[in-house]
């Protein structure tokens, strides 16, 4: 009888409202544009599935459509969008959130927060800054991949995995945002000739964008924040000669000297790779040594300049403050912020060119 009661109770409980996947409007990408201080415009990109010839059509039968709304907050905009949508709008498949340049300059944490609090949104959503109007971008059907959100996710994913973008998603952004002694960064995209291009890295101070690193700089930046295996780097030698270093693997080690009141940071960067392309004539051991030396010099110079720039802007995307914090008892954030612009940073780069590539 007891068992029967339990079954009975279970069956009479109200059911959870269903959200059947093909009856939803699944947002794949959202873009935020700045209108004025109080208002912003949001554009969502939803996929449209064409019941085409079926089997053979495959991927091509998915395109995207957009819905836009203007309002003060994300929730406000949502209700406007709901009034334009034939089906229930659902955040669960959101993959990319875009901010235009102006919105990024004015702070994005309020918007990110609404996504962060939504349990259906994954932590691996890509947040990005786009140089122009995000609405224009999302309305486009680009030839490489007609579904724009898919294009953008694949673009960012590919560049993080193989190229100069450091790992970046909502989780990383929020971690760096909330962690003391660290500032976040996001990929910066631009449009070029009917295609979208990764144009470097947007560096944030708290949640406001303050500077943009070029693609080359963001590669060097990537060396400092994470270790990776398959980088490519081009250096120019004297006499108009160029060499490309392939398979560059790097590892950065931070150390701290606390002799005086002010800490002194040393960055030891180890890189290893081989020369794959060389525009000069012969590539012998002597030449390799020379390339090695130039590479070391160039990296040291570039890293030092980059850190100086960061210090001038009083922004710390590398997380030097965090490195100091983990090595100091009773670390004080305020004091660090005061010290940061003048902290001496030593950069030691050790490179190793393993061989000059394989040729006949």
């Amino acid at each position: 009888m007891k068992k029967l009661m339990i079954i009975f109770l279970l069956l009479t409980t109200a059911c959870v409202p269903t959200k059947i996947v093909d009856e939803l409007m699944l947002i794949h990408a959202t873009g935020f544009d700045y209108i004025d201080e109080k208002n912003m415009r949001a554009t969502i990109s939803v996929p449209v599935y064409h019941q085409g010839s079926g089997h053979s059509a495959g991927e091509q039968s998915v395109t995207s459509e957009t819905i836009t709304g203007v309002g003060h907050t994300a929730k406000d905009i949502r209700s406007e969008m709901d009034s334009k949508s034939p089906r229930l709008i659902e955040n669960s498949k959101l993959a990319v959130v875009l901010f235009d340049h102006e919105t990024a300059n004015n702070g994005i944490i309020d918007t990110v927060d609404t996504f962060y609090r939504d349990p259906t949104v994954g932590q691996r959503v890509y947040l990005t800054v786009y140089e122009g109007q995000t609405r224009e971008l999302l309305e486009q059907n680009l030839s490489l991949q007609p579904e724009i959100s898919r294009y953008l996710t694949e673009l960012i994913e590919q560049n993080i995995k193989n190229h100069e973008l450091p790992k970046s998603n909502m989780h990383v952004f929020l971690y760096r945002y909330f962690q003391k002694g660290m500032d976040p960064f996001l990929p910066y995209l631009k449009k070029s000739d009917g295609q979208v291009q990764v144009d470097g890295l947007a560096i944030f101070k708290k949640d406001k964008m303050c500077t943009i690193l070029s693609r080359e700089d963001s590669f060097i930046f990537k060396m400092l924040v994470e270790s990776f295996q398959e980088g490519t780097f081009e250096i120019s030698l004297k006499d108009e000669e160029y060499a490309t270093i392939m398979n560059l693997s790097t590892r950065a080690k931070y150390s701290l000297q606390k002799d005086s009141d002010s800490p002194k940071i040393t960055i030891n960067l180890f890189t290893k790779g081989y020369v794959n392309e060389y525009s000069g004539e012969t590539l012998d051991q002597k030449k390799l040594d020379a390339i090695n030396e130039i590479l070391e010099e160039e990296l040291t110079k570039k890293i030092s300049t980059m850190i100086e720039t960061f210090q001038e802007l009083n922004v710390d995307p590398i997380g030097l403050g965090f490195q100091v914090k983990t090595r100091t008892r009773g670390w004080d954030e305020k004091e660090w912020t005061r010290q940061y612009p003048d902290v001496p940073v030593d950069v030691n780069v050790t490179t190793k060119i393993t061989h000059g590539g394989v040729s006949e």
Binding site: C15, T18, K19, I20, V21, D22, L24, Y49, Q51, T153
Partner: protein
């Protein structure tokens, strides 16, 4: 039995004569009138005419004991007990008595009509022995004894069923099987109070530890080799006259998924196959339920690349996923049931009609999505990989409660279902031994022949589940020393 209840021979005769197949034949032995009586439908007529009647003619003294000595038969009985006479007549014996006397000689003349030993059909194996039990218990015991020619093989015979009087034999290896298991089995079978036992599956259901459970708790097999192997592990087997399947126990849940083939191929291969089989069972139970749960509640779990395939295949379908899934699942069950009921040749047609025509048509008509069709077909296929037929049925039925909870509460429902299922399985026992062993209670040593099968050289002990008095199958060290393979 008091004298009053005792059946007298004349009363017995009278009652027998109500049935037309009872035959009474007067014969003269040594000049005295005797009568020969038997059931024509049970006794072998040729034995009577060829062996019994000529022998009787040679007997000179009209004395039953002399006749018994003269007859070329063993197992003859002289009795005055009416109930023994009744029982024997009904087993195909001939009765012979001096007209009017109570004393009666019973001569066995049973007509044996048994089919040949055939290839196992339910538990077919590509390699290995190809013998299956038949309906005759003598033959079945013979098949087992041939595989275990040791005097330790003991047999307890019982009779079950007030109408069927089915002969039941409990078979075990003395000193290897735990006495407790044998006694439990004996106790449970002799406690059965039922009029008609047709098959060992009746007994199987009646002696199970928990008859409310959908899970079978004793293995039923038609393979004598499997029974012999089980006996040598320390299990107890039960054979029932008239049934071509034997029951063995105690057993575990995992054992239901080990085919006897597994011992015939090399251990790597059979381990892989066993793991595949277990995974396919999990797939069979959960795949459709997960499909329904994810499509109804958890769109965020669908991988990006799969989303368009899923949505496109579902776009034209007017039903929610649960209706679609139930429709397909029931279709598959219908096909299976129709295939099982129909003769083999028509059954094949049903397979084609169901598989190709209904499947394709349902997708083209927009009643089901092709993704679900694949999932349902695969999970039906997966449920047929179970070597023991009964557990396959259990698994197919289990899918439906999981579908329902998936619709009610999504993945949370499925996990509640898994919880309930696990609690149930952990509570189950087989002849009082834990059903989920070696997973729970954890017995690392018993894993050697459960989810995977290790080589025979590592199977030196019997499963600890059996609590056998002789746990060593062979002495491992000696076996290693003796092994002489030239390198």
């Amino acid at each position: 039995m008091s004298d009053k209840d005792k059946i007298t021979l004349p009363a017995l005769m009278e009652e027998f004569q109500e049935s037309n197949d009872f035959h009474l034949q007067p014969v003269k032995i040594g000049g005295q009138p005797f009568q020969l009586f038997y059931m024509t439908t049970l006794a072998d007529q040729s034995v009577i005419t060829k062996d019994i009647l000529p022998s009787l003619r040679q007997v000179l003294t009209p004395d039953l004991e002399d006749i018994q000595r003269e007859l070329p038969f063993i197992n003859t009985v002289i009795t005055t007990d009416g109930s023994v006479i009744e029982e024997n007549i009904l087993r195909g014996y001939l009765g012979l008595n001096h007209s009017g006397a109570d004393e009666c000689l019973m001569i066995p003349a049973k007509e044996e009509k048994i089919r040949d030993i055939t290839v196992p059909e339910v538990e077919f194996s590509v390699i290995g022995p190809k013998q299956a039990f038949i309906e005759d218990i003598q033959t079945n015991i013979q098949l087992i004894r041939r595989r275990l020619p040791v005097k330790e093989l003991k047999m307890i015979e019982l009779e079950v069923g007030s109408l069927s009087k089915a002969k039941v034999a409990i078979i075990y290896l003395k000193d290897i099987a735990n006495e407790e298991n044998v006694n439990t089995m004996k106790q449970r079978i002799s406690d059965i109070d039922f009029d008609h036992i047709d098959d060992s599956s009746y007994i199987n259901q009646m002696i199970e530890d928990n008859s409310m459970s959908p899970f079978p708790q004793l293995i039923d097999t038609e393979r004598p080799d499997r029974v012999a192997a089980s006996l040598s592990e320390g299990k107890v087997a039960v054979l029932v006259d008239g049934s071509p399947t034997a029951i063995t126990g105690p057993t575990t849940f995992i054992e239901f998924f080990s085919a006897f083939d597994d011992y015939f191929s090399s251990w790597h291969i059979s381990s892989v196959v066993r793991v595949i089989r277990l995974l396919s069972v999990a797939f069979s139970i959960f795949a459709t339920a997960i499909y329904v749960a994810v499509l109804t509640y958890h769109s965020q779990l669908i991988p990006k690349d799969l989303l368009s395939t899923l949505i496109q295949s579902r776009q034209a379908i007017p039903f929610p996923p649960i209706i679609e899934a139930l429709f397909l699942e029931l279709t598959i069950e219908l096909l299976r049931e129709a295939g099982a009921r129909l003769p083999t040749k028509v059954g094949q047609t049903i397979g084609i009609v169901g598989g190709i025509v209904i499947g394709t048509a349902a997708v083209e008509a927009g009643l089901t999505s092709n993704v679900l069709l694949i999932i349902v077909a695969l999970s039906a296929l997966a449920s047929f990989t179970t070597p023991i037929y009964r557990i396959g049925n259990t698994i197919r039925v289990l899918r439906f409660p999981f579908l329902i909870v998936a619709q009610l509460w999504g993945l949370i429902g499925i996990f509640i279902g898994i919880g309930v299922l696990l609690v149930h399985l952990i509570g189950l026992t087989s002849l009082g031994r834990p059903y989920l062993e070696p997973i729970f209670p954890p017995r690392v040593a018993d894993f050697k022949d459960s989810i995977i099968r290790l080589p025979f050289s590592m199977q030196s002990t019997r499963p600890s589940l059996m609590r056998t008095p002789r746990s060593k199958r062979f002495k491992k060290e000696e076996a290693e020393k003796k092994k002489d393979i030239d390198e």
